[in-house]
Amino acid sequence: MNDSFEQFDLPVAFEVDRQQLDERFRRLQAELHPDRFVRQGDQARRMAAAVAADVNEAYAILGDDYRRAVHLLERTGVAFDPERDTSQDIEFIEAQIEWRERLEETAASGDAAGLEAVATELAQARAEARAKVADALKEPGTPAPDAKDRVLELRFFDRLLEETKRTRQNLARGK
């Protein structure tokens, strides 16, 4: 079972019902966690561990905007290489450089309020990037031609937000 949507019996779509996803995850783990098989012999326990690992993985994919989008694209035959893929959109590459410079400069100046402002703007930009991904994947079977670039852009914002969070923590800690 390689299709995460199928595994959770959820409609193949970019938007997922978070509550439904969580509820199904809990039900599946309640049935399939290897803890439920400790008295059933090693074979059953091993198989349960393999299935439970699949369920954990599918849950992680479906619960994350970027990974879910990648999964949707891969279903239609679009290949991803997380090491090498970068957006081909020149405009966006320029925007990336700008964002990075802003973050680095603000961090270097030790301006906590400034960092918070950058984080807020980044969160807004991320929301916009997410909306574009949702739009590009409106028809999950036939994604827009630029869908992959949109997804890579979403990844950029996820990563930069994570970095910003770390920078803010380090700043608060006085490092």
Binding site: R24, H33, A50
Partner: protein, 627 residues
């Protein structure tokens, strides 16, 4: 569906039959065993009524003693009296060297990666010493309950890495225990207070023992227990408060600078007793005997105690602040606070904790026993004594797993806080023509540089079919089980050849070392090895038979063609015959493997079906909720 445990409440095949299970808190200074009886979890006392077993093992040339009896040798035979062995378990020579100054016994590091402790009974590893403690607890439980334990849940610190968890499991194996699951100590404490029943909770577990302090922040979210952050001080505990009181007493009695060890011990004892008395009383009388035989009599009150304890409490609060920061939380974000460890009985500690987190901590359960009690509750569920309990305790991997790549850098394979069990695969290729082997170095930790992390193991893959450089595609699969233990397999994809893996644990025992210990160990010498192996195979055969019979009855008609069913039943009958003969463990094992092979497709079909049922069951409850 017994095989999948979806028995309806009350439909249990043999409701009278309880499965014996226990929870074990294997601690640095003391250990406990607990079990659920008549619905209540409690720790089990020894024949003298003592619940706590000091984690001390004494080795004489021809006898081993454990617990109170062993602790009595600490003064007269320190080299052979092994205490605090938990600080060594799963550790390598380098870690141990930094600890050895604090430990009275003699360590040697030889050709094996696991350091040995020299004793009168020969060289012992931390795994063997821990096995003695576990064996004593197992005996206590089995004598109390009147039968063998089916399995146990053992607690480990949240920050234990793979090597330390594996070593703990190895110790349990040596002690003849079937481990249902390892769970983290703070998780067990939270379970004891029923905090796993909630929807979403952020929980702080403040654990102040005699010599160690741990603070953990857990998050319960939709049945997943996640350790957000953990911290503390491995050299801070109630003993430090005793010393502070003793210093105060010496000053009061005009005995500052006293050096006589016996008198100092007595003052320390008086200090501890006064501290304990002040748990309930506001003031307590204290007496100290001077060198000249005269006696100083005075009083210690709570205010003075608080003053004396303040610097130590401040240090624990600093650790709390740090761990909250690591978790990215404010003290106000903590929903529940749990107290663990004997030192949290002190009112001053409780007040300090309450003041810091701004909420009353859970303290209704004896803080020495709470971890063992939580473990016992989980063991009771896993043993199948609560068939209608749906909740499972999911855990996360506490430290990232990675592989060494070019230039001593780490490529992370499984990031920390990933829910386990988890499976991740990575593809590698050869860089030389005709290359048939390659080696992998697995590390655990959060740093980008290999040397800053813990080395877990080196794997050598061999049997790769010779091809031109870059043509082979070797898929290496990392599986982390529910206990956080890693297993690695490899397969060459283009030709489908299973690569052979040889594991060299960096700080762990190899399988053959464990086998040797099983043969040599004092605990197994007390039983006949063959008899034990036979019993283990019989128990496993019973498990398989019971599960299969139940599965055939409920689902045999639905999932099996007549011929398939016949094959399974033949294998099953052969296993039952071997099991009844009860003579040859190898024959039972072989018969069981044949049953497992014959029924593999059946098990898989039922498991797939149970996924569908789980999802369908959801739809029904959703429909109900909508009405």
């Amino acid at each position: 569906m017994a095989l999948l445990q979806i028995t309806e409440p009350g439909a249990e095949s043999a409701p009278h039959q309880r499965h014996l299970a226990a929870g074990i808190d294997l601690g640095t200074t003391h250990s406990l065993v607990a079990t659920v009886r008549s619905g209540e979890a409690d720790t089990l006392p020894d024949e003298q009524g003592r619940h706590i077993l000091p984690s001390v093992v004494h080795y004489a040339a021809d006898a081993v003693s454990v617990g109170h009896a062993a602790a009595e040798h600490a003064a007269d035979d320190p080299h052979n009296t092994i205490a605090s062995v938990k600080r060594l378990i799963g550790r390598g020579a380098a870690d141990v060297a930094t600890l050895s100054g604090e430990l009275p016994f003699r360590l040697k590091t030889g050709e094996s990666s696991v350091p040995r402790i020299e004793t009168a009974a020969g060289d012992k590893t931390a795994v063997e010493v821990s096995a003695e403690i576990l064996h004593t607890l197992r005996q206590r439980a089995e004598e109390t309950l009147g039968d063998e334990l089916e399995g146990v849940v053992i607690t480990v610190p949240a920050y234990f890495d793979d090597a330390q968890r594996q070593a703990t499991r190895d110790a349990a194996q040596l002690a003849g225990l079937n481990v249902f699951r390892l769970i983290s100590e703070p998780t067990a404490a939270a379970v004891a207070y029923g905090l796993d029943q909630g929807e979403e909770n952020t929980i702080a577990v403040y654990d102040l023992g005699g010599g160690t302090f741990d603070i953990s922040i857990l998050q319960l979210r939709r049945g997943v227990f996640e350790v957000l952050a953990t911290g503390g001080d491995s050299a801070l505990g109630g003993d430090d408060i005793d010393r502070a009181i003793a210093d105060w007493l010496l000053n009061q009695a005009g005995m500052a600078g006293e050096t006589d060890p016996q008198r100092l011990r007595r003052v320390l004892l008086a200090a501890r007793q006064a501290k304990e008395a002040l748990t309930d009383a506001a003031r307590t009388p204290v007496e100290v005997r001077r060198a000249d035989g005269s006696t100083w009599s005075g009083e210690l009150d709570r205010d003075t105690l608080v003053e004396l304890a303040r610097p130590l409490l401040e240090r624990t609060m600093a650790a709390c602040r740090q761990v909250l920061e690591d978790a990215g939380l404010e003290p106000g974000a903590i929903d529940e606070v749990v107290l663990v460890g004997g030192s949290t009985r002190m009112p001053a500690v409780r007040e300090a904790v309450e003041g810091f987190f701004g909420r009353t901590p859970h303290a209704g359960i004896d803080p020495d026993r709470v971890v063992a009690i939580g473990a016992a509750q989980q063991a009771d569920i896993l043993a199948g004594n609560k068939p209608d309990t749906e909740l499972v305790l999911l855990d996360v991997i506490p430290l990232s797993l990675g592989l060494e790549t070019m230039g001593g850098l780490v490529e992370f394979i499984v990031p920390r806080n990933t829910t386990i069990p988890v499976t991740r695969a990575q593809e590698f290729t050869t860089f030389k023509d005709g290359q048939t082997a390659m080696s992998l170095h697995v590390v655990q930790g959060e740093r980008d540089v290999v040397d800053a992390n813990r080395s877990l193991a080196r794997f050598t893959l061999s049997g790769i079919p010779p091809m031109v450089a870059g043509a082979a595609r070797i898929r290496v699969t990392f599986q982390v089980d529910a206990d956080g233990l890693l297993n690695v397999t490899a397969r060459e994809q283009t030709q489908g050849v299973e690569a052979h893996i040889e594991v060299k644990p960096s700080y762990g025992l190899t399988d053959s070392e464990i086998e040797q210990m099983l043969r040599d160990s004092a605990s197994s010498a007390r039983e006949d090895m063959e008899a034990r192996r036979l019993r283990e195979e019989q128990v496993e055969a019973d498990r398989v038979l019971e599960a299969l019979d139940a599965a055939l009855e409920t689902d045999g008609d639905r999932y099996l063609e007549a011929a398939e069913r016949q094959t399974i039943e033949q294998a099953r009958d052969a296993l039952r015959a071997e099991r009844e003969k009860g003579a040859d463990p190898d024959a039972i094992e072989a018969a069981r493997k044949r049953v497992e092979q014959a029924s593999e497709a059946f098990v898989a079909r039922r498991m797939n079906d149970s996924i569908r049922r789980a999802l369908a069951g959801h739809n029904v409850s959703e429909y109900d909720a909508g009405n």
